[in-house]
Amino acid sequence: MSEVDRERPRHMLFDAEGKPTRDKPWIFRTYAGHSSPRASNELYRQNLEKGQTGLSIAFDLPTQCGYDSDDPVARPELGKVGVPINSLDDFHILFDQIPIEKMNTSMTINGTSMWLLALYVALARERGVDESELRGTTQNDIVKEYLARGTYIFPPEHSLRIIAEMYEWCLEHVPNWNASNICSYHLQEAGATPAQELAFALVNAIGILDLLKERGRFTHEQFEQVVGRVSFFVNSGIRFIEEMCKMRAFAKLWDEITRDRYGVKNPKYRLFRYGVQVNSLGLTENQPENNAWRILIEAMGVTLSRNARCRALQLPAWNEALSLPRPWDQQWSLRLQQILAYETDLLEYPDIFDGSHVIESKVEALCESAREEIDKILGMGGVRAAIESGYMKSELVRSMSERMRAIATGELTVVGVNRFTEGLPSPLLSGDDGGVFKVDSSSSEETLAVLEKTRRERDPARVKAALEALKAAAKNGENMMEASIECALARVTTGEWANALREVFGEYRPATGIEGQRLGLENDRVEKLRARIGALVDRLGHRPRIVVGKPGLDGHSNGAEMIAVAARHVGFDVIYSGIRLTPEQIVESAVEEDADVIGVSILSGSHLELADQLVAGLERAGAKDIPLVFGGIIPKSDFAALEAKGVSRIFTPADFELVEIMEQIIGVVEASAKG
């Protein structure tokens, strides 16, 4: 048994000729894009020079939600969290001097994915690049948008059709393009446990494959190929052993599903291919330097095991909970990957966990819970039904509430937050910029100017015809890709493309998931709060009402959901209507419901603009006396400005104790209650 094979020892890797070798490293990605197409283009070229091997494009929220940069809802968000793209002219600027035929381009785009792919193909056509050479991925996973990320536009039925059509079109025209990427990354960021991450991502994939089968446009041969193109985007959290096991469980379950449910014979097409972004939810505002270690540990979870190693990896930065990363922050995280891949011996070994009973048992346990949940959802009618009924969203909010409870009680340790909180001030925060990134607002002028020029110079007749053809295709059930490419070539804008389809498909608001949720936190402090609210009921003549609002295009719902759940838990009557409301809608809710306080959650960086709009709205409605509190990613340097606009209290991720936040809000209501 223990005889060592002197020729080919088991701890080494060999190439086809039998020579010892090292694995090829994964693709290093840096998720980037901001301000304007020109600024982002510069950033990409710098990153490519530094040795980055793929492009990963972040779009701004208006582009992701299908609005032009000059739309009123777009203005506060313009260029904030990614690059704005209005038309093909912007793509020419964005990819200037970047050889797209050599790039592997990953686009984080969902609600408007078909449009962005159409733009990319149109760019290739205008540059004379053979479109079949294009490589890359459109994220294009609508299910997790409804559940966690928030950049959906149309109802599930129509959104899923768009995805199916992209698979069908891509297989024929751009065979190396991943039409969509099933994401569980965002689910963990919204609270999912490992079993939920597994199950939800896999039923999502099943939903798409079932749909493709049902549409019947593929031969079985082609269908197998499509299955082979399905790739995943997974999260890797701080419990890195479990996370490594989760990756193995994914591979195992995917192999089962593709073989048993879809009869895929070619094992190559049953491979679980995945990219990773490591967990950001656990990255803290307190002692932010600690995040560097968390990121390193999380990166190990998805690289240590060769059989479950990711194909591509992107890392957040140490200042994740403070702002978007600056170029230096990104470079620091990229260096981590380079050290791991090139300095260490990681890539020299076969799988170092094969044969471990511990790992095997853990993997099987994860598979078992995931299978159970998958069966449950399929029994409900599948992923679409479980979205429409709100089941999946509600399960995520439950897990997130549980996480918040465990942090509050100290059951879950978060260093620097609920343990080991005393520390020396971080020198990383002491630079001129305070360690945070500020968007250069002058670049929005340029974006708007380009948009205006595009509109001025295009051929209106061609634009009109292209949009009509798009609507016709949408109504007739034809594939909308070619019509979208013609729109792109005709210089249709992002907002026009989306509006044309809104006309045909309508818009959608998914379940908020907060109904029936409990915080599970019962202690003296909670009891005291309930008593204080009881006293307020007597004083006000009614139970205090809080409107929790998410204005603008920001899809970060965790904070608002937790505030809503906590507020009810201590005895508020709570009105929360989900994300992506206009400031006018929030003001109207507060006025109609005669709210005692409005709580606003903004993580996208547009708090100043949105505060102005909210305050103006309250003034118009004669309701300036309703106090406002804010929460989210709000830099200390903006506190004074917000307070001057009339915001009573401001909370950030450092305020992790929901009960304490509630104490403060009740204080605000008590202070403003007259009589």
Partner: protein, 321 residues
């Protein structure tokens, strides 16, 4: 002071309406006289209205809120001059007392429309499908609007309350699952004037349910079961919602009562029962009944305090002797 809001409220200004609604929800005893002043001022006002009150009941998840939103949208289009209010009731937590008022999430109404007003209400710990304040608020909204929709919690028991509030009650059902079969047994079939079978986009299940419903109706209501209309609609696709809206508006015109007097009498008696139990009801009887007590006290708002005093005096007298 609240009287100052009246002109603005009749103009449709939402802040004013909302403040008045809060007055009518206010649980402090001393607010009754304030309410009385508002009612008197309204009744004397040339612009006062007299809304029809439409009850929307049915199990949670049947689609009451979604459908109400669609009905309101159609109403706005069909009869733009009508003022419409919606009161939607959600359950309160027994532990904390707080409620998540989620019905608003389903409302897809153009913001800034001065002719539509939406208000959420928590059920408190009341057992019925309404909040203890729903009737009070309806007394106000009745005078400010042309149609008032009341969406109940829909838990099942005591949904019967809505009959004593609304001019007409619509029971919204969805294609039957296990729960609904229970519901049919639980006597809910006694409540509605009309039935709306929603979610008929799920065609097969809808047809099955339609038949089951017809059968259940003739069992539960042997005398009028056959004449109860069943509307098959889909709030999601809009199927038949316009027709349903036309029907509701037409009935609203016919059923609308200019006075809520009879219902005030009922709700006053309900209040007596809630506060004083059987003893109270016996006392009420001995004082000549709810209507007589209300007349003696002056009106609905004064009646509670009046009754309170009278009962206490009677108790004091009986213990003294």
């Amino acid at each position: 002071m609240s009287v100052e809001w009246i002109d603005a409220a009749l103009r449709g200004e939402k802040r004013a309406i909302a403040r008045l609604v809060s007055l009518f929800e206010d649980r402090r005893v001393d607010r009754a006289s304030e309410r009385r002043r508002v009612i008197e001022a309204l009744d004397a006002h040339p612009e006062v209205r007299a809304a029809a009150i439409v009850g929307i009941t049915g199990t949670p998840g049947a689609g009451k809120s979604t459908l109400t939103s669609e009905i309101v949208r159609h109403t706005r289009r069909l009869e733009p001059e009508l003022r419409v209010a919606v009161v939607a009731i959600d359950p309160s937590s027994h532990v904390s007392g707080g409620a998540l008022l989620g019905d608003r999430t389903r409302m897809r109404l153009p913001p800034g429309d001065v002719n539509v007003y939406f208000r959420s209400q928590a059920s408190d710990t009341a057992l019925g499908g309404l909040s203890p304040h729903t009737f009070q608020v309806c007394r106000l909204l009745h005078r400010l609007f042309d149609v008032v929709f009341v969406e109940t919690v829909g838990i099942g028991q005591n949904e019967i309350d809505v009959r004593h509030l609304a001019d007409r009650v619509y029971l919204v059902m969805q294609p039957l699952g296990g729960d609904e079969v229970q519901f049919l047994k639980a006597g809910i079939m006694e409540v509605p004037d009309e039935i709306v079978l929603n979610k008929c986009d799920e065609a097969e299940a809808a047809l099955r349910s339609y038949r089951a419903l017809k059968a259940a109706l003739s069992l539960a209501r042997p005398f009028d079961g056959d004449s109860i209309p069943i509307h098959r609609v889909s709030a999601r696709t809009g199927m038949n919602v316009e027709l349903l809206t036309e029907r509701i508006l037409e009935r609203a015109r016919l059923d609308r009562q200019s006075s809520l007097h009879a219902r005030e009498v009922h709700h006053f008696a309900r209040w007596v029962e809630d506060e004083w139990g059987r003893v109270g009801l016996r006392a009420l009887e001995s004082f000549g009944g709810a209507e007589a007590v209300m007349r003696e006290a002056g009106d609905f708002d004064a009646a509670q305090a009046f009754f309170d005093r009278k009962v206490r005096a009677a108790i004091a007298a009986s213990t003294a002797s």
